[in-house]
Assembly symmetry: C2
């Protein structure tokens, strides 16, 4: 495939420097280029870019893309590099467009309840900033401490709260996108509801930079939800855990904000890795984490009790309740650190996601176990 | 444009009858064809189809589309015909594919919390059926009594609850779609979260039959929300009403499930038309309808009081509270019957939607008033 593309020449680099300024172009410096060749999917996957450019405006992005398009130089967009899907890896060399210098929260509009941001904003920084206004950005990925909002949009990140609030796509009202030609498109805007024409906005979300590069996003905000309780629930089998999910959801007065499944192996390693040990039933083989939002602190017990009771009726071995931020963080740090914990044992472990209907989880786990025996 | 298309011949009709059966093809019968030539946007917009076909399977749809594609016969898909956007009007004649005979709820999956439906299901029937299982379909259009779910998806219908739950797109997890070639595509499925590849699913939603015809949909269900209260709030000006919106939302402990704006003219006519008179301040020029969900009957007052108080602080003239289904229906029947009420006065009134950020509503209303004077 690579023969379809051209290598970067000194003339190309000179053009990029003229467009973006000397300081925003990295070339012929392997040590500085190397970090732009990987993501979090594992160090087995890497490919060095020839050039890294760091535009500060959509116009800059447009001029770089138009140049690359004319010269047939491959382009790979990069946010924080926290993805697991390889979207940021410059497989064909060429130019990496890093959005690290487009990191401004341009507007928090408390009348229309939207935020307008550049793609390099760290999602957690956005969450903190809108919280100062009593607002909440619900497209909340698991890698929230480091990932950029542009990357979240480009791969339609899911994350912990997807079951109640939907993946990132549900929260993107508008995008500014630069096409390969350099043309700058405005899609959507500050409107809650917009059904005219094809949803190019929704097509861009999840397209991982292959249809265009995101240079600005208008995001839906909602009022900050009330306090949450997290239930960590051990079960004797995967089947029991999965069968409890709809029962716990139906017992809750509203949709839980998160329902996560973990197997015993991941749980044990992640507890050891984080040092966050929680005394759980020895015979537990599978775990659910269920997060319930209440309208106020007073309502918290009433909010989570029905879900906990439904789990017990469905065969849970116990229900561990975290109803304060410290206990919750203990549970979620275990969940977040699964991959790192497994890498502590075997650094070649690869990260990735796959998705099945919840009723298919037992069959999937059985299949994974078969594979792990076959390829031991 | 019409020269690009062919007219339907007797051979074409014979082919359709061979594919679908005699009873599922209407031809050369103006009285029976005429109802398939309009939607709810107004009788000024109509165009008779040459043939109406009523397939009962995706395979039938595929064979008809493949035939039409070969013969260059234009095809228009039709649900209930309750749209306001003209999507169901066969502007170029040809074939109308009516989904009235594909009206089965195929599955209500209470484990994965999804429904699998054919496109001709009346949305309200779906809502009632899933409610029997304690479930809720949140893509709830204003025309819910008559519209088909396939049409809701094809035009990404918004409706009353869009502010909390999003438009129809937010609730579509999977689609079976027939392309012009006759090929049957399966997009998505019973998965809550799915980010692999371009979202052709989301591109199909809102494409109004121009990219393919929907023959089956997998829909996200959630637990039935608790009881609701509806606030009907009069304001002295459009500006006051709009400024109150974010304050009422922020005062609520969760996102209101609906926030609708109405002007005095529409309100007066709709009250007269429905016979549902509500005593409101004489000096009111603009109205908000705000719907708040509570987790239980006991919590209803606590749930809506902050929103009502926020409206009063923002200059509301009064707050009329409907906290039972009869009073709520009184308010919503007024809202739903606006268009019909205006047609009672002038039958040539056209229906349609346009969408602006809420802060732009005062400027929009002023512009509409200017237009109404200029074109009186």
């Amino acid at each position: 495939m690579t023969h379809r593309f051209q290598s970067v020449t000194h003339e190309d680099v000179a053009a990029f420097r003229a467009i973006l300024g000397e300081a925003n172009v990295i070339f012929a410096d392997p040590d500085r280029l190397a970090p732009y060749g990987t993501d979090e999917s594992g160090h087995g996957h890497a490919a060095s870019p020839e050039v890294v450019v760091k535009p500060q405006t959509a116009q800059g992005v447009g001029l770089v893309l138009a140049h690359c398009n004319r010269q047939r130089i491959p382009v790979t967009a990069r946010g924080a590099g926290s993805g697991l899907a390889g979207g940021a890896i410059p497989l064909f060399g060429g130019v990496v467009v890093s959005f690290e210098k487009m990191s401004s929260i341009l507007e928090i509009d408390t009348e229309n309840l939207v935020a307008v941001v550049e793609p390099g904003v760290v999602t957690n920084d956005l969450c903190r900033r809108v919280a100062e206004h009593g607002l909440f950005y619900a497209g909340y990925p698991m890698s929230v401490e480091s990932s950029f909002i542009g990357g979240n949009i480009a791969c339609n990140a899911g994350g912990a709260k997807v079951i109640k609030y939907g993946a990132t796509a549900a929260h993107v009202l508008g995008l500014e996108v630069v096409l390969a030609s350099g043309e700058i498109l405005q899609l959507g805007g500050k409107r809650r509801k917009d059904s005219s024409g094809y949803s190019l906005l929704r097509l861009m979300v999840g397209s991982e930079g292959t249809l265009g590069l995101i240079t600005q996003a208008t995001l839906r905000l909602i009022p900050q939800p009330g306090p949450t309780a997290d239930l960590l629930v051990p079960f004797a089998s995967t089947e029991d855990a999965v069968a409890a999910v709809p029962r716990a959801i139906m017992a809750s007065t509203s949709m839980p904000s998160a329902v996560e499944f973990m197997d015993k192996l991941s749980m044990d390693h992640a507890m050891a890795y984080t040092g966050n040990h929680i005394a759980l039933a020895d015979e537990a083989e599978a775990f659910l984490i269920i997060q319930i939002e209440a309208s106020s602190k007073d309502m918290l017990l009433d909010a989570y009790r029905p879900a906990g009771e439904a789990c017990m009726e469905a065969g849970a071995l116990d229900v561990f309740v975290a109803d304060n931020p410290w206990a919750s963080e203990k549970i979620w740090s275990i969940r977040r650190n699964c991959l790192e914990a497994l890498r502590g044992i075997d650094p070649t472990v690869e990260g990735g996601d796959f998705v099945v209907p919840s009723t298919k989880i037992p069959a999937m786990m059985a299949f994974v176990r078969e594979l792990s025996v076959a390829y031991r």
